[in-house]
Symmetry: C4
Subunit: 214 residues, 4 copies
């Protein structure tokens, strides 16, 4: 787990290339981070294309998201640091934009979660060992007030933990994108790929139901 900055940078660059190839990094969207062995966080610089990151596009911030270099970290850095605070075992956070995430969350304007059940792919989430489970992926309203959004995430996580229900290592922001995390970047990427598959299946189900009068 004692990831060095060099390892983190290399891993983030490789992830960006793969996520972009899967259609998960249009324009300069998304931001990625890794918690290093020394507690600092390597995060992508604001406004760079994630499909072609270079060494210069990853920077260090402290646990509060304060820049430790003369660059601008991603505007959503506080949404990464809140995850690290809430989940001590988590060392990587990925945020991506995709058409299924945006289309699905906008099509369900009142919903506070997407409930996924019966999918084998739920096993892409660490700790889930069977499809016979129901997992709610939280949906938050989009906001440019990242601090407020981070508070909402923290509060919702607390409530869900107290409820004893199975937690997903991911949440959605309506009309915006998805966050996913894991003990390392490999696990976080697995969560994001699994989530995209699951939401694409849900969207397909909505399409097929669209024409059926209920």
């Amino acid at each position: 787990m004692a990831t060095s900055l060099d390892e983190a940078v290399e891993a983030i660059i490789a992830s960006g290339r793969r996520l972009d190839a899967r259609g998960l990094a249009p324009a300069t969207s998304g931001n990625y981070s890794v918690r290093l062995g020394n507690g600092r966080i390597a995060v992508t610089v604001s406004g760079r294309h994630k499909g072609r990151l270079s060494r210069d596009d990853v920077m260090l911030v402290d646990t509060d998201g304060v820049a430790l270099e003369g660059k601008n970290p991603s505007a959503e850095t506080a949404l990464h640091t809140v995850i690290y605070r809430l989940h001590p075992q988590v060392n990587a956070v990925l945020h991506v934009h995709s058409v299924p995430v945006v289309a699905l969350t906008r099509h369900l304007p009142g919903a506070s979660e997407v409930v996924l059940q019966g999918y084998e792919m739920l096993k892409a989430f660490p700790g889930i060992t069977s499809h016979e489970i129901s997992v709610g992926i939280p949906i938050f309203e989009n906001s440019q007030d990242i601090a407020a959004l981070a508070c909402e995430v923290a509060e919702d996580t607390g409530q869900r933990l107290r409820s004893g229900k199975t937690q997903a290592p991911a949440y959605l922001i309506r009309g915006h994108g998805a966050y996913g995390w894991g003990k390392d970047l490999e696990e976080a990427e697995r969560v994001i790929e699994g989530l995209e598959h699951l939401l694409s299946c849900e969207l397909e189900a909505l399409r097929l139901r669209a024409g059926v009068p209920t």
Copy 2:
């Protein structure tokens, strides 16, 4: 047919890269195997990403799926070995996850098969020489009890063989994915690509029918 372990490993790594590029290996889903000349089976290790396999991610098991190395074979290894037992001429089995397979099998909750007819692509299945045929692709309910699922597959195969109907070298698991096989890995990959095309066409037909009151 006397495939060596080295040939099998190289072929499995290449197949994984191609299947992932086609969207058939999200997260760490899927598992692949090849029956070697000596009867042993080379199978992917549990939990690795199929788009970037290395030599270390393929291991040997015996005909009962028992590990011959100190690693964990895929949790679904018994679904590979049952195919090798049922079909002596088969030397490669591929299991993949895809949105069309999951969406289609979940949209047809009661169905025990998807019937494909009139498609030229049916000729991707060995032994089929015309589109003027009707082929049922079995659908099994998903289960974490792999031994029980393997029994169901064996039983269903026996019934279908006795019925004299044309068999597909493939089956589906509801909400989960597809299995396909062939005399070698190249043929198994052809079956999987053909199947994905056919199910995508069926799904498109369902979409187009969605709005038409019946």
Copy 3:
């Protein structure tokens, strides 16, 4: 236009790789040919994957499609030679399978053509200089009797030429795939890419109309 065999082989291999990357060569589907300077035809061997062709996978046939080497040319070679006979200026023919072609032709079971009008992309077809045109892409019923199908293509081409209507350098086979051609392989590939775009747009229009009661 005096293409040599070596040039043709190289061009066919490159086209195969690109068409496969666009999803137009699932399994071992499709077949490609180029008419050489000496009148002979270089055509893909039967049953090879078009995304990874090698020198050995292209062979020579004469103008009647008779093999000039000890290999099996594509089973649909007669559908290539009929195009060369009908169109002296054509030196390359491509046949591909795709989900939009199959889904669209099966959704319109009675139709003998897909009429495309108002699309800028119609200009991908040689000789068409404006979107303000209506072009019918013929649809033939699928058949394993390739000689009979070649006759139908010849007859239909004659009728369409006599009608004076704008011709497309392409036709569809129901539930099967598309043929497209050009003065060289580059032009034929442009036709196929343009056709796939146009049919994808038509399919999307059908999807959007699906839910609208007419």
Copy 4:
């Protein structure tokens, strides 16, 4: 901003490869330009495939679009030069064809714009800092009279500027494609990728609504 011809050519070739990989350059569609430090414009030659451009496929024109070399610039060069005249800070223009653009504009036959609101991805457009905004992307009728179309674009831009409403660095041509621009090619490409994401989301919303009786 003082881009040299060599830099422009290299950047255009790289953009073409990426846009083609995203499905935005079928057949030989699209055309790309960069305004150089000396005021001249580097633009793609007519009829070349944008996914595999070479040095020879980019040429110089003056600010009126008149060729400064013995080649044919893109037939739509006047649609590039009008953007440079209207927007002094713009130094790159991209025109692409895509299925979502064509399907969406044809499905809304009477509409003079697509209104996008509430999407985080709107921030891919320079100057937009919040999703809480409504941006109209103009739709023009397709025409082969490029001079007339350029006039329409100029007139509409004037009206929209006078209206004080937020402008998008992009417009659509019905049944044809999209134009997008930026201060450099990187920004123009970001606009195009963002626009494609946004229109794909809108199209998905239309699909989901298709079956819902209104």
